[in-house]
Amino acid sequence: MDFLRNTNIDFMKYRKFWIGFSIAVMVIGAVAVFFLGQLNMGIDFAGGTQLTLKLADEPEIQQLREVLSRAGLKESQIQRFGKPGENEILIRTPIVEGSEEGAAAQILDALGQHYNKADANADLNQIGTGSIAQLLVAANPDGVAGEPETVAAHYTAVAESVMAVRKEKALFRSWDEVAAVPGLTAKAFASLKSAASIGKFSPLATENVGPQVGSELRRRGFLAVVGALLGMLVYIWIRFELRFGIGATMASLHDVLITLGLYAFMGYEFNLTTIAAFLTLIGYSVNDTVVTFDRVRENMNKHRGRNLMKVLNDSLNQMLSRTLLTGGTAVLASLMLFLFGGDVIHGFSFIMLCGIIIGTYSSIYIASPFALLWEQWFGSVGKDQKSQTKSAPRTTPTRAR
């Protein structure tokens, strides 16, 4: 099937408009992100504690806020997580001054007081296989005889089956659900019921990043992004010419900044995975641009002496079907990730989705015009490259205007 064959669109005609438009959007995004502090810094970089909890009942956020506030954790943020009806919440607390270890225990304590009225028995929704097995071993309701190892093995198997059910349900809501656990005898159930309790929540994930690691992760994330950008600039510089390197780098910077602006606007959390997403985006964006530049280089060699703007336009047209096709499949793939990939990678897929769309636009409307601009501003000063000396004089300002 032919798709956008033999187009002849003058992409470069409105380059000033597009560059201006993009710069405006970039500046707005950058101001919002860097000066207004709109970026929702996750605990990876800001440090702090984050708990993901599954509750038995519909969470009452306002009430929970008060509970945490009373426990001295005024600055906690509570938000819903996951699909509606799943009763999942996310609690985030900033770094506790002077401590590396965070407030997870404090939060769990406060919630325990609130929901479970400080029941001293072990909470089946919080302990794991080892502890359940130990409770059963201590009581030995099944009357297993023999070596301690045999007894332990028997109850470990039972405990594992209890945990398998909890893993499926995320938490036990009633003793009936525990009674239904396969392999749990009536006596064992009775002994669990007397030794343990069923709390109203279960921690799904607990994360704490202390100030030391937080600042280190910030540094490393920054180095990764800057390093990747510089690495690519150098690679393209070696493989092509500086002006193309600049064009490609500008294009990916453009993609990153605009996506970052959108990301901040959507209020997604900025964390380690975000850095990975942005680096992938940079890779994709440069990839997209390089392919076009590759054609530009080929055409420059084929039609020596033709002016750069025409070469750029021709190359963009020739590559148009490829650019849109590749961009299209990548957008489709990230759309699926975005829609169905779950909450944990929502931010990641959002970046890829927006980034690829913006990246496709920028490899057409930003990268090449920037290469051309660089040529116009610095082309005569550019010291080397035969192809450059041939094309440079023709892309004089008279023609460009």
């Binding site: 099937m1 993901t52 590396e100 965070g102 997870a104 001293a120 302990i127 794991g128 296989t129 080892g130 201590a138 945990m163 349900k169 995320a170 279960s202 921690p203 799904l204 994930a205 607990t206 994360e207 202390g210 030391q212 690691v213 490393r220 990764a224 990747a228 690495g231 393209i236 493989r239 380690l272 995975t273 850095i275 990975a276 680096l279 992938t280 890779g283 994709y284 440069v286 990839n287 997209d288 390089v290 392919v291 590759d294 096709l325 590749t326 499949t329 990548a330 489709l332 793939a333 990230s334 699926m336 990730l337 829609l339 990939g341 779950g342 944990v344 990678i345 990641f348 897929s349 890829m352």
Partner: protein, 527 residues
Amino acid sequence: MKKGLLIKGGFIVGLALLSILAAYPLKDKLNLGLDLQGGIHLVLKVETQDAVRAETDKDMEVLRREIADAGVSSVATSKIDDLSFDVTGVPIEQDAVLNKAANDYLTSQRWDWRREGSKTTFKMTSLNERNVRNLAVEQAKLTIDNRVNQYGVAEPVIARQGLEGDRIVVQLPGVDDPERVKRLIKSTAFLEFRLTEYPKNGGGGVATRDEILANYGGSLPADVEILSQDQKDDQGRSLGLRYYAVQKRRVITGRDLKSANTSAGQFNQPVVAFHLSADGAKMFGEATGANVGRGLAIILDNRVVSAPVINSRITDSGIIEGNFTQQEVQDLVTTLRSGALPAGITYLEDRTVGPSLGQDSIESSTKAGMLSMICVVLTMVVIYRGSGVNALIGLALNVVLLFGALSYFHATLTLPGIAGIVLSIAMAVDANVLIFERIKEEMKVGKTVRAAIDAGFSNALSSIMDANITTLIAALFLFQFGTGPIRGFAVTLSIGILGTLFCAIFVSRFLFDLVYTPTRKSQSISI
């Protein structure tokens, strides 16, 4: 030509089979990251200063005893800081005794000392300090390893972060009892026995700090500190704190323990029974013998566990009582046996993922991945027809190779890693698109099918290489500076890129060669 095709085909099929062999069954072979299977990731810091302080305390005490034993009973020591102390009370004419004791018991490599007037100042050498710190981290690593093994975790990772430095990374996949395990690892089980100063006989401590301070007229002597004890009723409920003033000097520490066991006390309550090493027994006997009637605080991780009265000289064994539950005694014995940690531990980073969250993540990301794949497949077949199928075979092979490589290299598949796979598949299509578009262009110029295929591949090659190398650069930087899940992502992305190059350039070419043989008169190509 035919033979060449056969060899290529054999190579491709062989590689695919090897990958399947390496990755089958996927469930067992694939190493899932902590974010997918649940587990604990910890970065902890060994407070090596504790070890240095303990070393100084110990050497100072040994030296004092040896000098006293050699007949200079007026000898006294006082600590300056964690790295140095003064010895006083040794008359100048008996300096030889001091020097002999120091040379015998503190080898000259470990301490420098200089006499100035009536006092001799000892300073730990920097070499010794480095050794002590390094040893503390190594020992902590071993101890944690012991504890984790005793607890029973499959495939734990316990490694120092970097060659030097005081950090240890602990990864415990599949652990579903995070709070308990974290306590178990962290409890330094730093056990100390110290004499109480107020109340002199222990006596259950006092209710407030102020009461102790008042006793000393507002400020504590330099060698005394206040420690607290948790009071609990028999239901395990907290009854508040009791306070003791205890000497800073330790009689013995957990290091002097030879063994520890669970046992039952006089009221059948759970207690820890211990035996001391010969060295420890000597020191313990001396201190208890000289202080009958005083309280002896048993301190675990800077908390008073109990402070019984010394009734008589005790040498090589004893019990530790406290308000312990059976489980607490069990865990305490585990930690004491595995060797007390040589120094305190601080968790700098702690990420725990429960089993059900990981399960959810696997389900949703697999679903999203499948759907992405279907989208890509449909697009390719609709646009490129027969050649689209060619691309799909390449893609399928790419996926097989990817999982083969992940399994073979024991790389870890993380949640971002799954996203990485989906993306690298989507981007792998790019290489095919580049080639196919090029073939179409070459056909437009009037080339035959064969010639167009040849030209298409060779002309698209440099673009494909450039495009993928740039992404590889990004992946390398991610790997270099990333941690945990992000590294997993970088690895899958990199493997995906290499697979893409192989499939698009080599496999796809092979398939074209196979279908459009030079002898075939075909003038059309399904593209």
